[in-house]
Amino acid sequence: MAKVFERTNGLTDKAFHYCPGCTHGIIHRLVGEVLEELDVLGEAVGVAPVGCSVFAYDYFNCDMHEAAHGRAPAVATGVKRVNPENVVFTYQGDGDLASIGAAEIVHAAARGENITTIFVNNAIYGMTGGQMAPTTLIGQKATTSPYGRDEKLTGKPIKVSEMLSTLDGAKFVERVSVHNAANIRKTKKAIKKAFELQLSGEGFGIVEILSTCPTNWGLTPLESLKWLEENMLPYYPLGNLRTPKEVE
């Protein structure tokens, strides 16, 4: 029997602290696998956000920075500008990237910073206990939108990929999801392409990954996958929004 699936060396051997069924763990694994398959673990420098994945620096088997909330793209810029041969990536949640870090991600993209951003969108603040995020859907209950997010009060959720795809510096923008095995494989392809574009010096790439938060959605892990499919996909359509021409 040939082994076809085993834990990637792109991850350390530290067990994840994530809640049961939280898809952060899947995304961590995909990033680790891609870094290993591209054989760049020795060159990789990752930047962890503040949020549930704040401990990402313990999970990725490469040099890591822990950034202040929202500032990962700026930290990554500093790292990349010093050592352009390093493969630099940020791993951020929606509170980190779309709320406090909105300016940083917009300008990293606008500059065409040659880094790769893994953007995990689970429509809520996880670590702090379920508050409304810029990506929380209209009507979705959160601890700071207890009556359901009200558009009149808080506006509509931000479509980050669409927003960033208007910036010419953003060479690769794709939204994917991890709510079933088939989509997880597509997510891995997108992550791999984003990193390949960084290696070929193409410039800024972001993969927005729709993800679940069973604990703060108040659903079981399986119900969460269904909720994501029925509620997030319609508002956050999957697909590539920007990719360099010749790579088509």
Binding site: A2, K3, E6, Y18, G21, N180, A181
Partner: protein, 76 residues
């Protein structure tokens, strides 16, 4: 058509009983082992009818905690 045969192993103490793998298996053989509780206090996932496994790795793909390893041989 060559028939793929597979085998999955579970690092049970990493499992958090989230059950995602049970819905991903195309031959529906991944179940939660109700007779057992792991070190975290969860029923770990398992497979009783291993002979039906085709080694597609769907279960391992959707597992958030890298619990599952998959092996496969292609019988001529």
């Amino acid at each position: 058509m060559a028939k793929a045969k597979g085998k999955v192993t579970f690092k049970e103490d990493l499992c958090k009983g989230c059950e995602l793998c049970t819905t991903a298996c195309p031959v529906n053989i991944v179940v939660m082992n109700k007779e057992k509780i792991n070190v975290k206090g969860y029923h770990p996932a398992t497979v009783h009818e291993m002979d039906k496994c085709i080694g597609c790795a769907n279960c391992a793909t959707i597992c958030p905690d890298t619990v599952i390893e998959v092996e496969r041989i292609i019988e001529k």
